[in-house]
Subunit: 415 residues, 4 copies
């Protein structure tokens, strides 16, 4: 086990740690620690909500979650010698839930998947599922089961949802400008188009006074992926992956968290992975001048690991970019096509007895593949969703006899 | 080798075959042949353009292609006993290029990848690549190489681009209405938003007289994927796959073609696969009433085969839904995010000495994976592209030394 | 399709072809054709017995097979410029059954698996299964089913059982000496320990007169693998593989055949693969002086292809090197350990209703993995057998409820 | 993390633990703890030698190891309700090295691979490598590197080498009888044919007095695999595996240890895996009467997990059952065939600059596949070894240019 360079006491909020983390992106958040290139180290992480969600059978905590606290990140980690223009090479050596029992939060043997209500961020299928739902998952080594979604057990594609380097002041200003421009096109939309900087509940690491105030006023919210990495939610950032982040400020200032026990492509329920606190072991190194050398100027690149669970039999669902409610074509819209693929999968799973909500939570957390299959055949994009059959303890394949319908219970709902 | 129920003489146009195929969707195209459930059979196919593209070093034929002929489909195959509401179970037993030398067209030992000019349909990256380009691929068993893109050799994920059942008259009318509505939003756009029915060069199988005229006037163009299947361009329809098509008219009337030797997710160059004529062996069966039984009412579902080439090491590219030229956010637009992932991959390949056009053609035809990684993290969708490293005969990974830049020639361009 | 350099009319014996092949190893068999390095070509092959086995429900033909005809090889192919000490690089581009209906033999849509009687060669489990058995397999594209073993369907790991370069005269003499020495230790054993040269039914290509007589007298039998390659029966010589054969005589003189539609590790029934006639497409090249450069002096090396069918769930059986009948230890004998793993698998399959003979034929032809798991833990070697669960159309896994026993028919037996 | 039911203080010998384990098989070793069916729990383990090997650059400790202490097992674990004839279902949920720094032994961030000297057990290739050698491996998450074998990095196929249920008194007596019979055939052989019971350094858990003496006198040594499981050294017992052990005594009495960070098929150096102390999380359940229901009467069966590292490109080596030193045939001897495949791989690796000892240690610990490819082609068995190319940081494939020979240092040797 490598040295812990950012430690978390899971019994306390990130705000109360000896060295607190942060929940906004800003170049002036002071480094929590400095490491050398070519070194291994461990970072401990809170769950992304700072443990607002409990191991119980009500979705009220998901409905009432305060998203101004999110995402609680560990860091920043400064890397000696890193300069703008370099590539920061980050190897994901290992990650997992909280190794020792340190209280009751997610990551101590369990995690959760949630669907936010439409008026609190919503999810991918929020028009069909406008309320809040939750499923609790119990960890059994690398596998998870849920009392809220019986009949399914899967090996987690464990990965961090969010890691990134600090933006430069110039880049941060561009983010804020372009996102505000988007918000201004429909400022009262529910859910919102984007989230502007917000001082409420901002946490700026060890910064205080005027610096903390400036970070609170300017710091970018952590929800989207951006040029620095950020909330990628790429399920393929598994153990053994190597990520090449652009270095945008001296020292690179790497931060992250939002660990996921498992997630399919898309994290379709928004809070869709099996969320948990835990630890992550990293190795860092530098490619000097790598951004220009390799033409990596806009986004990180990466090489996935080779220990993700292997599945070879899938039921696959196709979606096209037609709004079938209104029979309207949306020109080459792969997002809508994937939405339809998801809805088709929900309908299929319901034919076996799951509720729509259970099916939705299952698709958000299971190791599904989501592919951009056709993006040029005007006017319809075609997206596909691959659901592994082996995660079910009953036969999920279509046969002449029809589906094995059964009472499959229900997930946690709001009261 | 199963019985050939639809045969093609590759020396002649599809129009001149003893039993011609068709290039529009319409319920009244007469079946070319009727088969029984639970039977194996072979269909022979022309390349999708009816062999307008030659094995040469000029992209002029791609620039000048007449798309009103496309796609040239083999069929319709009527299945005894199929009724609306059933699921037609189609096993893809085998497929491949033209087995015997029957002239000079694609599929006789070679295939092609093309990029259409912006004013003739364009491709996925048409703003950056507005002209026509072409690469010829030579087949070596299951592998392909190209004199136009040296340094790369890959095993094809052989699959049909286009198969589907005939739409009902009611569904066809809905297609025509909704696509016309889309066209009407910007009728003079280049490239067009969608393609309305077009009598020019329409081919209606063995229909003639008034029926043929009606089909020409009403028949849906074959470019997009729709509720009946159609031009899915899903690379995972490989040998061993089982597809469940909705049956919309008596007899199901299955048709298809557009065989691909290889293609990555997205078929990003539009004519992006390695295109070829060839054969496909199918087995068909029925699940009576299967559409309602399994909730498969909108699109086909399928189970992919297990003989696609296995790669385990990838360079992966991330894209987000920001127009980086103008620094503008596009709300959760996975299509734009994938476009950026593709452009990032192009830039990366250029650092090794490929031209942008070569890189684009390579990405369109190689066994790349394209995934919808994040579709809920407002405002940015995140898409990812996975390029297998093993297809290159040089080391394509990022290292401290920088890329091995070399002169890598050029693809076919227009004169 | 590359040029056919060795063609076979499947309606006739190999002996009656315009250019016949051979069934013994000898450096003086004249080349049937000469090819250039860096060229693609096709070879057509008879099934290994020269079509002695029929598509019927009796195992009498297997019982009565005349093995003096085997293996019927296509070749020799001389490679220009090949000299002793080189490595001959052979790419397996493609292979498959006979593409056109040319009569009735195996490879024309079907193949067979057989168990030889103990007094005619026997098989791996000949003490438990001393008689002859047979199963006929029908080909459906890349998959096979059998009326003799219902409930199972699998994708073939198609490969050639036997390819090799010609031995030098010196090496041939060593083979004959060392194998005779083994025979002499127990000359009347049934089955025999090894097979000495045999003039009866010897076929020496286009050689005649004294040369043919000498070849008949000295030529090594084709049954075992030896330094030149030979009857490897390695299931991983799949499409896309690259094999590096030692060159032992000028021109290399490559020959082969014994095509298999499918086979598990070990070819445990002796005639254990799904045997067929067919074609194979090769590319050849040379590494000059490669044997010494890479220390490849004893046996070929190879790189397997990446399109073998993928399975991820297995029932696995362990065997140790104890003769459980007599409770006797055999010191680190991996062969006996694998025999026990096979017998354990037979017993397991019988609990589901298969006959022992069916189970044996299934294991010989299905895509099983056989591994040398422990070879140093005195006194017991440990071998393991991995049976993919997905090839069964019923649930083959152990559960608390016990196995789903059913009447599963019977294979072809002798009358 | 599940409850620890067998804990180990890594600073002390297994003999000094509060509840010590054992190092012999005997039905009368008292259970250390009793668990319920359908429960999860953790067991902590010493390395198999009870930490006789140090993290240094001398192989003297391997040369001088006292094997009478081996294998140090954790347990026995009694399972409530288990009766002879049942199958004990054991899920391997997780395993790994010692999670917290508890001293200096193997498993605290490092492990070792060793070759024993011929006069102390020897290894698979002991005739060629009669001395002692060692390599130390550093753990980086799921990957390992070695200062003694530079140029290679691989993801571990982490697994337990040894688990089993207690033998019945009757079975134990049969073991002792049959192994003594083998020893008696050559009682002074070096290395020995088998190891009889030995009181020296015997450890019998919490047994004492006469019981401990009887266990010392009768207890079977732990080296081989036997009917109860035992020292399988099957690399495929990875996380997610489910093993079905025969229950031979009331309570089943499951014990195990000998954790491996990585190992190829065969554990060819004897002490061939990367050995470590650590932990293992298990779930147990029962199939009542399962031995007869499923015909599992001789050895355990198992279903491997699906998170082993995936490799798709291999250099493969063939061996046949000929002693090439003396040019002698060994009839269908797969063990000798695998020995030759290993020696061929050693020669190949030496062409790149590794010493023979380094190559041997590498093959013993890397994720190689070892297959029983042909076991019926008289007189030669054919075994194959698959070495993944991706574990090397240089190109290991054969090319026309010849191997990239370099100075690759040396492993630890004896002084």
């Amino acid at each position: 086990m490598p040295e812990v360079v950012f430690s978390v006491d899971q019994a306390m909020s990130m705000r109360d740690q000896k060295v607190p983390g942060h929940n906004r992106w800003h170049p002036d958040i002071p480094p929590a620690v400095t490491v050398k290139p070519d070194s291994d180290f461990r970072i401990e992480c809170r769950d992304w909500t700072d443990n607002q969600i409990g191991n119980n059978d009500s979705a009220n905590d998901v409905r009432d979650v305060d998203l101004t606290h999110a995402h609680m990140l560990s860091g920043p980690i400064a890397v000696e010698g890193a300069e703008p223009g370099d590539l920061l090479v980050v190897d994901i050596l290992d990650l997992g839930p909280v190794p020792q029992s340190q209280g009751e939060g997610s990551g101590q043997g369990w995690g959760y998947t949630g669907v936010f209500a439409k008026n609190n961020g919503g999810g991918f299928l929020t028009d069909r599922f406008p309320d809040s739902y939750k499923a609790i998952w119990d960890f059994h080594g690398q596998q998870a089961t849920s009392r809220h979604i019986p009949g399914v057990r899967y090996t987690g594609i464990t990965h961090p949802g969010l890691f990134g380097t600090a933006p430069s002041a110039e880049l941060l200003a561009r983010w804020n400008a372009r996102e505000q421009a988007l918000i201004d096109t429909d400022p009262h939309r529910v859910p919102a188009l984007a989230l502007p900087p917000l001082a409420d509940n901002s946490l700026a690491g060890t910064a205080d006074g005027e610096t903390a105030s400036r970070i609170a006023a300017e710091g970018a919210r952590t929800v989207p992926a951006r040029e620095n990495g950020g909330n990628h939610d790429i399920k393929n950032f598994t153990r053994g992956s190597r990520v090449f982040y652009p270095v945008l400020v001296p020292g690179a200032l790497l931060s992250g968290g939002d660990l996921h026990f498992s997630q399919g492509d898309g994290e379709i329920t928004f809070c869709g992975a099996i969320e948990m606190g835990g630890f992550i072991d990293l190795h860092v190194d530098l490619i000097k001048g790598g951004m220009e050398k390799y033409g990596v100027t806009t986004n990180p690149i990466f090489m996935p690991g080779n220990v993700a669970p292997q599945y070879t039999e899938f039921i696959s669902f196709v979606g096209i970019s037609v709004d079938h409610e209104t029979d309207t074509n949306h020109y080459l819209d792969a997002t809508m096509a994937y939405k339809n693929a998801c809805l088709n999968a929900v309908d299929y799973l319901m034919s076996f007895g799951y509720s729509g909500e259970q099916a939705y939570l299952l698709l958000g957390s299971a190791p599904i593949e989501g592919r951009l299959s056709g993006v040029v055949d005007i006017p319809n994009a075609c997206s596909t969703l691959y659901l592994p059959t082996a995660i079910f303890d009953f036969d999920i394949r279509p046969t002449a006899e029809g589906p094995r319908k059964a009472d499959r219970g229900q997930c946690a709902v709001t009261s």
